[in-house]
Symmetry: C2
């Protein structure tokens, strides 16, 4: 099975390297030549030119958004390189309606499609322990099992219909995106009282205010380290997907709307490429509070 992982960012690089380590014939593909050179040096096969690859049995998409996914799939030579029963595995966070649309086009072209957004961040991608929220035809799921085995610790099989995976990811992002902001809001409030933020972090971790994001992003704020593991701009995109879908359906998502406005404000203030926990700087500025890592 000849696999191409498209998009060698923090998630895609981890996935591609774990495919290679598992002994699968793996190509890394990225327009960025530094990423291509790095993957080539570490794992052997990488390119930014489709002509370098003869036949592709599986494509794993880790590009940034739906537009890039569509561009790779439908406006590049990729489709002409696919073998007869090749499978597209789309790990990009996209609107569920878009997953349904892309899946239909790929199935119409005679190939397999698995809607497969992931959770776990760069750390779990690197260690091959991502969670995958997957939906697609059973035969496609079966064909790509060696790839999922290489890159993930949990595969949630959500049935045959593309869109199911993306809907579950949307629910996860709604919560994750709100909880990054609640973490920032709570630590900014604590900073306004001159509380010991490390102590606040440790105590809340044992109380009812705890969350996955509190445990994961809280230390970034306590240490004032906004080195991007996942950027503000990713949540501008993902909370945008949540609120666009909600608005289309007439579903009330007041916390998501509030969080999205803050992510946008942070991005417009020049924080878009910092870690998403840097949202705390926007709250601190509004409050006349100084949080760690602010000038």
């Amino acid at each position: 099975m000849n696999i191409v992982v498209v998009g060698l960012g923090s998630m895609g690089y981890g996935a591609a390297s774990n495919c290679a380590k598992a002994g699968l014939s793996t190509w890394g593909f990225d327009l960025n030549s530094a990423s291509v050179e790095r993957f080539k040096a570490e794992y052997g096969q990488a390119t930014n030119d489709w002509n370098d690859i003869d036949v592709i049995d599986a494509v794993v998409l880790f590009v940034v958004n739906a537009q890039q996914a569509e561009s790779v799939l439908f406006d590049s030579p990729l489709m002409s390189k696919l073998s007869a029963d090749a499978t597209i595995i789309n790990c990009v966070t996209i609107p569920p309606s878009k997953a349904t649309e892309i899946s239909a086009k790929v199935l119409d072209a005679g190939f397999g499609y698995v809607d497969a957004p992931v959770s776990g961040g760069a750390g779990k991608a690197a260690s091959g322990e991502m969670s995958i929220m997957a939906s697609g035809a059973p035969e496609s799921m079966s064909i790509i099992k060696p790839i999922f085995d290489a890159i993930s610790a949990n595969v949630f099989d959500l049935g045959a219909e593309a869109g199911n995976g993306s809907r579950m990811k949307l629910i996860n992002q709604l919560l994750a995106g709100v909880h990054i902001v609640s973490t920032a809001e709570a630590l900014n409030m604590a900073a306004s009282y001159d509380m010991d933020l490390q102590q606040v972090f440790e105590i809340i971790t044992k109380c009812a205010g705890n969350s996955w994001m509190w445990e994961n992003r809280g230390p970034h704020i306590v240490e004032g380290d906004y080195t991007p593991l996942s950027t503000v701009n990713i949540f501008v995109k993902d909370m945008g997907i949540v609120t666009d879908e909600a608005n289309l359906k007439g579903v009330a998502t007041p916390l998501s709307q509030t969080a999205l406005e803050l992510y946008k404000e942070a991005s417009e203030s020049g924080l878009g490429l910092e870690d998403d926990s840097a949202i705390v700087k926007i709250l601190a500025q509004k409050s006349g509070v100084k949080v760690p890592g602010m000038d």
Copy 2:
């Protein structure tokens, strides 16, 4: 040591019963005669009349709010019953500034004061495993240690200054109150897609969207069971404390403000005495969605 636990609601009843079980001489006090009769039947001593009690060495306050706490302490015969080095343990969630004010009055009157809000809910209160965010003079903390040992699994000692405990509780309530709403918002969105809510609950619990409140309140919504363990009205009060303090200090708390508005709307719609997870019904109504437990 003669202890009086004032306020035999779900938290106070649990604390009082664990004091009694630990062999401490414990009175239950409540204006509600049904609670008094129940505690008397189960543990021996309870009343709604201060004249029934001769000398008090420690008071544990579990009333509803700051106003009730002040009324019990300063507008009842309680103070006249206190022994020479009696200690007031205030477990009520109140504004930090109010904790400082009440502490000063109690210390001025010659008694000890411990600012001691709790976390863990009715379950942990019943099992004697609450977490206590405590601040007060070391000698007071030492005197009341047998009481804390009886009612709690974790005591976070936050120093001598009253207010420190209440500030930590405020940070916890900010997060807890927002996360109950985010749990409701996510499950309402999932319901709008006709997703299997039990499956959503189980998968998100293993993903980055997870929180203490998701795990605790999520099942109430999935099962449509809004039997009150902690009511909507408690969060109208607690998020009100968060936003009042934030507004006084000019601190931005946009998620807390958004959550408070929903708690208020739920309370005004007649859901005030239902479980706080019933906030999902307000979101569902706004969205034209049907969630479990709705007519």
